[in-house]
Symmetry: C2
Subunit: 255 residues, 2 copies
């Protein structure tokens, strides 16, 4: 039986996240139905990341097994004809039988977009989190090195999650101002701030809590050099708020 | 009576353009109703540009007269509370009684976004025109100087329009590749190309026909040095296709 890997872009606005649920439309359900309609087979579609309601993806990865004769790279074209416009298969390919989108994953990269402006943006309304108070980007950048490396990130995990360990390794983290962000109005008083975080894995809501904590660093509620103590506390209440889902993008999954 | 100037951003996806119509929701109608609900007065709202169905604006300008006591700069906040999220008043201010959003306008700047990729983009689907064939950006750039200055742009005007003169002056035109466009997937094979055009005024569909003609230059259907002959012909059939509305943005109105 063949094993097909899909790289998927989606606008998460109209979906109840990736993972199949009863009584809600999810990205996994919609892609799975398109595959079943194309191949005529039942499809067990495995995704790398269970993105939440409203979270976007530039490079979600999924795989499924099939006896179909369709060439690997043609699945993208065939499925895009069946999918709604807000879900696009960017790439499709045959992979080895043991490839598993979740268990084979060695890491992920996420992006978080903050629109820092006194006014909301119509064009970025579902694409970036609006923050009214001016953010000190330099202070936010000074906080970043403390996140790097292997830590117990319990302070940055949504309560109620039940993973075996709360240790994760962050391999890269950066913040930059994108003065040429399109589409959307950026000016002296309206900036798009881009946070990127890579790591071997992430706890539930971890990137959004890191984003929310960095927003607090930017507006002065948390000092940048308080980050080590917050990490060490393992106390969710010490970190910042969970930043909104619609600013988050799953950019890439590493294998 | 006071005269209030509004600078308006909107996502044109869900509207039947700017201009009021019967049996269709337009941006003008929605803003006008919000003003009437705020002031309790009938409102005659004048816009600078009659943007088409699906066209976006970062800086549409409109004005209206009122006896309301609300401070000029507070209209933006008050109206944003009444408007849907896809229409945002970016600025509001008192202006002189003779200011007229259409007749006082001295020029406009438009942007046209082209997503040049073999695959569509979910996140840019209503924000940039998809062009599959690879575009030669250098050839497109070589075509630009021919558009500058005062010309009879009849070849770049949608048929059926009835303006007195078809002469217009283009004061600035540029094309650049935005490698850091957000949100949306850009890579070696997927580029966002940004056309910007400024001028003293534009004929109906003129920017979209210029964009469509430059796309033909980019894919080799038209040679860049054919542009002078196309302009001189005043023949709409010699120029390229009208590029789709959803790639077009009214960026700024000059007074």
């Amino acid at each position: 039986m063949r094993n097909i890997k899909l790289t998927i872009e989606y606008d998460g606005t109209n979906y109840h996240g990736w993972q199949s649920q009863t009584n809600a439309v999810t990205v996994q359900d919609v892609v799975k139905r398109a595959i079943e309609s194309l191949t005529g087979e039942d499809c067990d579609l495995v995704g790398s990341s269970r993105t939440d309601v409203g979270v976007h993806a530039l490079g979600q990865v999924a795989n499924f097994h099939t006896n179909s004769g369709i060439p690997g790279e043609k699945f993208a074209y065939a499925l895009n004809n069946l999918l709604p416009e807000d879900i696009v298969i960017r790439e499709s390919e045959d992979v080895s039988p043991d490839f598993h989108a979740r268990f084979s994953s060695k890491g992920k990269k996420y992006r978080y977009l903050i629109y820092n402006s006194r006014k909301p943006s119509a064009l970025l309304r579902n694409r970036a989190a609006l923050v009214h108070l001016p953010l000190d980007i330099e202070a936010m950048q000074k906080a970043l090195p403390y996140f790097l490396g292997r830590h117990d990130f319990s302070a940055f995990r949504a309560s109620g999650s039940d993973t075996k360990t709360s240790e994760r390794t962050i391999t890269g983290i950066s913040i930059s101002e994108n003065s040429n962000a399109l589409p959307g109005p950026c000016s002296k008083d309206s900036k798009l701030i881009e946070l990127e975080v890579s790591g071997d894995g992430f706890l539930y809501n971890m990137v959004r809590i890191i984003a929310g904590t960095l927003i607090y660093v930017g507006n002065g509620k948390i000092k940048y050099d308080d980050i080590p103590a917050i990490i060490e506390s393992r106390d969710r209440r010490r970190a910042g708020q969970t930043a909104p889902a619609h600013g988050l993008y799953l950019v890439e999954v590493y294998f």
